[in-house]
Amino acid sequence: MDITNQPVVPLLRLYVAGATSRSTRAITTVRRLCERYMPGRYRLEVIDVYQQPDRAREDHIIATPTLLVVEPGPPTAFIGELRSSDWPRVAAALNILTDDD
């Protein structure tokens, strides 16, 4: 049902702030999203701003959670817990055609 035809493996970064319930929820949601659109064919980095503040600085992150779609470009930031209604927007940023549209 999913058509993944880009040559690069998509790269996503999820920034969270500490081991809060909001962070946990965000991580779970993003994993589910990835598995749904690109099962087994993606790279996801989960970055805790507490642990790696310099990464947050490089990526200009101040709000958490933020999901950064790094590849394929252009980079797009999704700020917030990702409601399921927002999933197609993430898919679009990943150049993934979905039947949700």
């Binding site: 920034y15 702030a17 947050a56 992150i61 980079p75 700020i79 817990e81 927002d86």
Partner: protein, 570 residues
């Protein structure tokens, strides 16, 4: 007074900015958040930056500057022309400049979030230098980066609480909006201290203003305080000092003009007083000012002559012609002649430049020639305020100030400067008199507080020997001055001579008469003597005659007796 202790002991963090600490009663609230609002180009960033830098340099309080807009390199460039060694402070770990950039290309908001990432990053930066002061410049950038206003408001509120918990003296800058103070109503929750910056342009000259809108738990100045951005950063001057307590001196100093000293109760001006010399063009104002500074320099006191109409060299040359050598004092470093155009800067800048120059040089005597030059750049009411502050500032420094004021030809100098007359201690009015095809000058001490001064109008004479005051001749309603005075003097001298000559003649006539009379008396006396002689001679003659008659009578009777005895016989 619910919390009197809190009110009096509210800890403050001095900004180190001249004037701002005066009007805030010691600085910004320590450990609290201050909001600085203003439109673009009002000096918000600079005010915040300077507070941070001075806090680090003067009070050893490490400061963190977080910009949401400018890079540290840009910030360093912006303050490069201020006399502040930013690099040195950064090296010593007293200052940290950080840009928190929000450019992220495409951004979408997808559900709930918070700004914990910002908190974490700020926390790390604060810990890195042990910051005690922090600036967030400007908060609007955050608002514009995020769409969910309610989340943002909540998070900002949390941020300010967090800053307070960490005991940071924080400054948040915000763009001013048309209606409220800041576009997003931040002042509602950052409420400890709110400073509003503004600028206005009048007559093509820009003046900046600061006003403390709110200062919780502290008294503060409530006016709009003009400020300038100069080579030493921001300078704010209180409109007036809070009290009228000046060091009052009874010492008298010479006006440099002995005849004028004589009119001023014999002693000259009071030290630390303000003297106004008003008069039309060419009435001798500058000369009076120059002789005043020359006298100060001759006493070994530094002096400054602020010239708003002529160049320094022009002044030196012109005064040489009346025997005042200013160059010698310039050469010895006692006299500065600072020449500038009134239109070169705003009133506020002039005011601050003047006071700074006086303070730096330690000048004891100052001339401002003329104060009326400012009329071209500002409204009279602003000038009056500025002069009030200027005289006030100079007085508090114990400086004796002579200001000249140009009055329009025809206008009565005693009327035209009414608005500042209350500011001056001694007011000298110069006038031009045009009669008989020539122009002459007169001088009157209109007022001089605290001394018995002459109320006489004198003629002011200027020549190669300097200044002189000459008594004026009044002929009925008009005073005689210049050639008319000289003619009158001549006439009087002639009259006097005539009188003297007449007196001598009278004297001579009298002497002659006297001699004549004496001669007459002599003649009469001789006549009298002759008469006397005559009289005596006549008397002798008649006596002799009488005696002779008696003798003859006796002889006759003796004869008769002898003849009668012989014939009768009875």
């Amino acid at each position: 007074m619910e919390f009197p202790a809190a009110i009096t002991n509210l800890p403050k963090a001095p900004t180190g900015i001249r004037g701002l600490d005066d009007i805030t009663g010691g600085g910004l609230p320590r450990g609290r958040t201050t909001l600085i609002c203003g439109g673009a180009g009002c000096g918000k960033t600079l005010l915040a930056f300077e507070t941070l830098v001075r806090g680090a340099a003067l009070y050893g309080e490490p400061g963190l500057f977080v910009s949401f807009e400018e890079s540290p390199a840009d910030l360093r460039m912006n303050v490069a022309n201020l006399a502040i060694d930013v690099a040195n402070l950064e090296q010593r770990g007293l200052l940290l400049l950080e840009q928190i950039s929000l450019e992220q290309g495409e951004i979408a908001e997808v559900g709930e979030y918070d700004l914990e990432g910002l908190f974490i990053r700020l926390g790390l930066l604060i810990d890195r230098i042990g910051a005690q002061r922090i600036v967030l410049d400007t908060i609007e950038t955050l608002f514009s980066a995020f769409g969910n206003q309610s989340i943002l408001r909540g998070e900002l509120q949390r941020l300010f609480r967090w800053l307070r918990q960490r005991g940071l003296t924080a400054i948040i800058t915000a763009e001013r909006s048309g209606q409220g103070l800041s576009r997003f109503g931040i002042e509602e929750f950052v409420a400890d201290c709110v400073i509003l910056l503004d600028y206005r342009i009048t007559e093509h000259v820009l003046t900046r203003y600061a006003r403390i809108v709110k200062y919780r738990g502290s008294s503060h100045g409530v006016n709009e305080y003009p400020f300038t951005i100069g080579p030493h950063g921001i300078t704010m001057l209180p409109i007036t000092s809070f009290t009228l307590r000046y060091p009052v001196s009874a010492e008298r100093i010479s006006s440099g003009f002995p005849d004028l000293d004589h009119l001023l109760d014999g002693g000259g001006y009071y030290r630390g007083s303000t003297i106004l010399v008003s008069g039309p063009t060419g009435s001798g104002k500058t000369s009076l000012g120059a002789s005043f500074v020359a006298a100060a320099c001759a006493r070994g006191e530094p002096a400054i002559f602020f010239a708003f109409e002529e160049s320094a060299d022009q002044i030196v040359r012109n005064l040489r012609s009346i025997g005042i050598d200013l160059q010698q004092w310039r050469d010895r470093g006692l006299l500065q002649i600072i020449s500038s155009r009134p239109s070169l800067a705003g009133l506020e800048t002039h005011l601050i430049t003047l006071l700074e120059a006086v303070e730096q040089s330690g000048a004891r005597a100052v001339v401002i020639d003329p104060i009326t030059g400012f009329h071209t750049i500002s409204r009279p009411v602003d000038i009056t305020t500025m002069l009030f502050r200027l005289f006030d500032g100079l007085k508090s420094l114990g400086v004796t100030t002579l200001a000249t004021s140009l009055t329009n030809a025809g206008a009565d100098p005693a009327q035209s400067e009414v608005n500042i007359s209350s500011l001056v201690d001694t007011w000298i009015v110069l006038r031009n008199h045009e009669t008989n095809g020539e122009r002459n000058r007169s001088l009157l001490v209109l007022k001089s507080r605290g001394m018995r001064h002459s109320n006489q109008v004198r003629e002011l004479v200027m020549d190669a020997h300097g200044l002189r005051l000459v008594e004026i001749y009044a002929a009925g309603e008009t005073v005689l001055i210049g050639a008319a005075r000289i003619a009158e003097q001549e006439r009087l001298r002639h009259e006097q001579e005539l009188h003297e000559r007449e007196a001598i003649q009278r004297q001579r006539r009298y002497a002659l008469q006297q001699r004549l009379l004496a001669l007459q008396i002599e003649a009469l006396q001789a006549e009298l003597a002759a008469l006397d002689d005559e009289m005596n001679a006549a008397a002798d003659l008649s006596e002799a005659r009488a005696r002779a008659q008696i003798q003859s009578r006796l002889a006759t009777s003796r004869y008769r007796d002898s003849t009668q005895e012989g014939s009768d016989g009875r």
